[in-house]
Symmetry: C2
């Protein structure tokens, strides 16, 4: 799930030296809401990743800069917890900041807010950086002379738990799909957002009529490509909690295959 930072509507270089948190505004578009009129989880994920890209670019560690030295960001995990999803036509704001930087990973958090201080929810993400030649992880603490640590904002609250362990023993796939043209991103991989959509589609419309997603988690493990067949294994692990594993090219009647992605959904009644 390589995600290219560097995307920005704002082309002017702003002085962000004192500013650790940035905020970006979105509107829930008509074709981006589900039958209940609430923003799709995949669309929210796209806005979070775009916001991450804006934030990084404005501070000089976006992909454009990184690519000069042949590095790129890779999204490893994403956890989203929502009180409520924005409704059709509602404006909302994504705030994002870096909570921590380690040698091989960085924690980036998000708050999704609305008018009059309304809190829609929060999200946490974990990123690594890789060298595009060697595909090996890079040392974040030495990036740009270690300047990334100047942007650490450890005080701002993100009151949701970190991504946890997801384990699926289920042997019978609940859905199998062939990777399509529209699944593939510019890197030739199934894109991070499409996995979210496919995981959400493991539950029927009637389910979403009475349930809403309280927490959604995804861990990206390996890439899948055009020509791959993805099998989805789903296991109920709690009262309202489901773990999902996506394996590729599982032989007919078998359950073994390379894991490309894992997910967890915790629902609540509406």
């Amino acid at each position: 799930m390589i995600y290219k930072f560097g995307f920005g509507f704002n082309t002017e270089t702003r002085n962000m030296s004192k500013c650790k948190v940035s905020a970006y505004n979105y509107v829930a578009e008509p074709f981006h809401v589900d039958f209940c009129g609430r923003l799709f989880m995949g669309v929210l994920g796209n806005h979070l990743l775009n916001s991450a890209g804006f934030h990084a670019t404005e501070r000089g560690f976006g992909i454009a800069r990184l690519n000069e030295s042949n590095y790129t960001w890779v999204l490893s995990r994403l956890a989203i917890e929502m009180e409520e999803m924005p409704r059709e036509y509602e404006s909302f704001t994504v705030e994002t900041w870096i909570e921590n930087v380690y040698r091989l990973f960085t924690d980036r958090n998000f708050a999704i807010t609305g008018k009059d201080g309304k809190i829609y929810g929060y999200a946490r993400s974990i990123w690594a950086m890789i060298n595009l030649d060697t595909r090996k992880p890079a040392d974040l603490l030495t990036l740009h002379g270690g300047t990334i640590v100047d942007y650490i904002e450890s005080e701002k609250p993100c009151p949701i738990s970190k991504p946890g362990r997801i384990k699926v023993n289920e042997k019978q796939p609940c859905r199998t799909i062939d990777v399509q043209y529209s699944d593939i991103d510019i890197n030739g991989h199934v894109n991070s957002i499409k996995y979210i959509e496919h995981i959400m589609d493991l539950f029927p419309k009637d389910w979403y009529a009475v349930k809403t997603v309280r927490r959604f988690e995804v861990a990206y493990v390996a890439e899948s490509y055009s020509g791959d067949r993805l099998s989805f294994f789903k296991e109920q692990v709690g009262d309202e909690e489901y773990d999902i594993e996506v394996r590729k090219n599982v032989a007919e009647g078998q359950s073994v295959g390379e894991v490309v992605c894992r997910g967890k959904i915790i629902f609540r009644n509406k």
Copy 2:
């Protein structure tokens, strides 16, 4: 394909009385481009329909106003012809205007342009208005005292041909899919954009490595819903030209089913 006008980032009411053409700016986001780095056709379609919504709302015939009298717009046909698709991170502008208003239909055109007068392409669309109670078409010439005709712009060129006839005799579906949660919009129907994506997915990634879409056409005929199974019938009708028909709930081994949507794609070599 009911499309709710009324969506707008711009909440101030502007005086549009003398302005017949409006322009809206977009950027090709990372997850909105294909493996070649070019905007997905479905994403472009979404931007066109959003632009149509902005334009109508700013002139007082958006859905919010219409719903007071219980009417809504219905997209009937859309034809898009592209010289080139915007690349990842490229900014582009969608201009839209009304070319004609008839009693039961209106023709709305689009130009997709870039920096320095670059022309990406053009599009044409045909819309009707229905009464939400009776589902019967409304008379556009009497809407709001006939004010819609004040916005007709018949001089601005849209140098692509009007949507034409699409006819498919093929008896063997090339793909069959069950409608998923993420296909369904706020009206409970498979959304207009998802049909475009599914039609584009009838051609493999390798095809798009060497071909690009010169013209894409879609005609919306009937609604499909959660629980429906959609069968796609594809027929080559010219050197680089394919007609597609989407029928719902076709019995196994049969080819007969209610037509929900038709499409045409004309390719060219890259």
